[in-house]
Symmetry: C2
Subunit: 335 residues, 2 copies
């Protein structure tokens, strides 16, 4: 138990798989959060595309489960999400709307509104962080609140905290890894079963690993956006997605994977960020290399000046994993 | 840059390889610490078995380099280490004397003295943390200071922060890994070159990887002490080294490694801690498993309820790596 007992009021904006999983997790861990951190977390507002539900003393679990089951919030107010963020008294906004990498909206407006109202923000939304990092971090600092975004990169794998906090005693020279579980799954299946790309992709879609429109993943764009977040957060580069050299996996053939295998390698979609390089491309990875992880796993190797190379491996995707990263961020702010 | 600019005064008790590397690192990173964290770290006292040197405005780098070169501190005071910790005004004590797993001394007295004087402590010394965890943490809390010990387990690999801070949103179910680089090196060489145990051990000693008395490492005792630290810090178990079931690696033959290899496995000295189990033993690890790392690397897989399995790999030993972990702990306190 650290610090004093306290009540934290939060809203969840974007009540889909991730936002809903955050609510589930907060209720599931209610007693542990009180026992271990002295925190009583109340969800005072939720918003989705359908509307907003507010209860300033905390929305009961049953009500939120009902919204989850019906895949929509049944509004009890005329406020829209932005008005709710601004007007309802609370401490923190969980921004979990889908990533839009063109404009960053609607997440950008949600985050701007929350920070100006002096509310902390924890987000899984890559768009605003990739597109407007400097502006948002300055606004948070000016308003004396935090903006945290561990869930935007690597899912449950706490790569950003590792670099910014745990390895603060070393200088980070580069981060290199597999940041898209869908591509890793497809390449793993192509290699193990000698499947053509299209076949492995359809299998991934059937299993719910790839989306019905998988273009962001297989083009390498999703990895590129994550690299931009790392570039800005870790290296202070003020980069944007157009600065990344990107090549995807759709041209890789089972024959290429076989040739690689015979030579002791495999092919992975690798993203790399350093002050000199911002690149996503298929690369040969030696068998047994730390980056040679299979299935939907994510991995990153952080190269440092003093601590050497640190590699972290974990589940890169999934709403539960994102919710876990969001809750860890919330605890860093209040516990 | 986080927070206000500030001066931090610290002492280094135990000025051998680790303590000396901490001093080197602080001087090497002086401008980065000021620029990135607003910190001006002054080393106001150093102590080794020969004596104590104090300069309240900060000991110059040249003086510390001279002590490093001569492998001894040239005292400028009659104070002993304990008196220096108590009497000299400073904010934090780096306790870097060698681990003594019987009594915890002299580190235990150093840490007790520092905490009672309301000074933060960052240590690489496993003895006091393994033997007196609860008492020391309570004393730190009662005095409003922190006791941090990332460097005691896994060297540069920030396993403790990962579990306690970055994964706070999940419950840790178990931690399982290779926490002794010397054993991992010996087993790797035995497996790759079909060397007998004694031969691989002598090679490791010739390379400075194994100590002249390697018994703590090869008996599994060093791993056991690290498991106790994890048991206490992560699981609140109040365990001590006698609670660990321990088996070392000296009975492993090249033939056993060959048999394992033919079946798709390798043999590693694995430590595992959970609420039900506290055990160090050689175990079969499948080829390609996250724990199948080679050479002197350390690795740990953290099993969680929500975030799944997170694996971290890094250099487990070495004075520079320990110094990096110590500096990261210092930054967590002040930055």
């Amino acid at each position: 138990m650290r610090g004093e007992k306290k009540t934290v009021k939060l809203s969840i904006v974007g009540f889909g798989n991730v936002g809903g999983s955050v609510a589930d997790l907060i209720f599931a861990k209610r007693s542990a959060l009180w026992r271990d951190f002295g925190l009583d977390i109340k969800i005072v507002g939720v918003a989705d595309a359908k509307g907003v539900f507010v209860e300033e003393d905390g929305i009961p679990a049953e009500k939120l489960r009902e919204f989850r089951a019906k895949h929509r919030v049944a509004p009890n107010t005329d406020l829209n999400a932005v008005e709710m963020i601004d007007a309802v008294e609370h401490d923190l906004v969980v921004e979990a709307t889908p990533t839009n990498i063109e404009s960053g909206e609607p997440g950008l407006t949600h985050i701007l509104t929350a920070l100006k109202a002096r509310r902390h923000v924890v987000t899984s939304n890559k768009g605003p962080i990739a597109l407007h990092y400097e502006r948002l971090m300055r606004l948070a600092a000016d308003n004396g609140v935090q903006l945290r975004f561990e869930a935007t990169v690597g899912g449950a794998m706490p790569l950003i905290s590792l670099c910014l906090e745990n390895l603060a005693g070393s200088e980070i020279l580069s981060v290199k890894g597999i940041l898209n579980g869908t591509c890793n799954y497809i390449l793993t299946r192509m290699s193990e079963e000698k499947l053509p790309f299209e076949h492995a992709l359809r299998e991934a879609q059937a299993l719910g690993i790839a989306e019905s429109d998988p273009s962001q993943d297989i083009s390498g764009e999703d990895t590129a956006v994550k690299l931009v977040i790392l570039a800005n957060a870790i290296f202070g580069m003020n980069a944007s997605p157009k600065d990344v050299s990107v090549q995807g996996i759709s041209e890789i053939t089972p024959e290429a994977l076989l040739l690689a295998k015979d030579a002791g390698y495999t092919i992975k979609l690798v993203g790399e960020v350093s002050r000199e390089r911002l690149e996503v491309a298929p690369r040969l990875v030696p068998k047994g290399d730390p980056l040679d992880v299979k299935g939907t796993l994510n991995v990153a190797t952080v190269k440092t000046d003093i601590a050497g190379d640190i590699t972290i491996v974990g589940k890169g995707a999934g709403p539960k994993e994102a919710a876990s990263a969001i809750l860890s961020d919330i605890l860093k702010i209040f516990a």
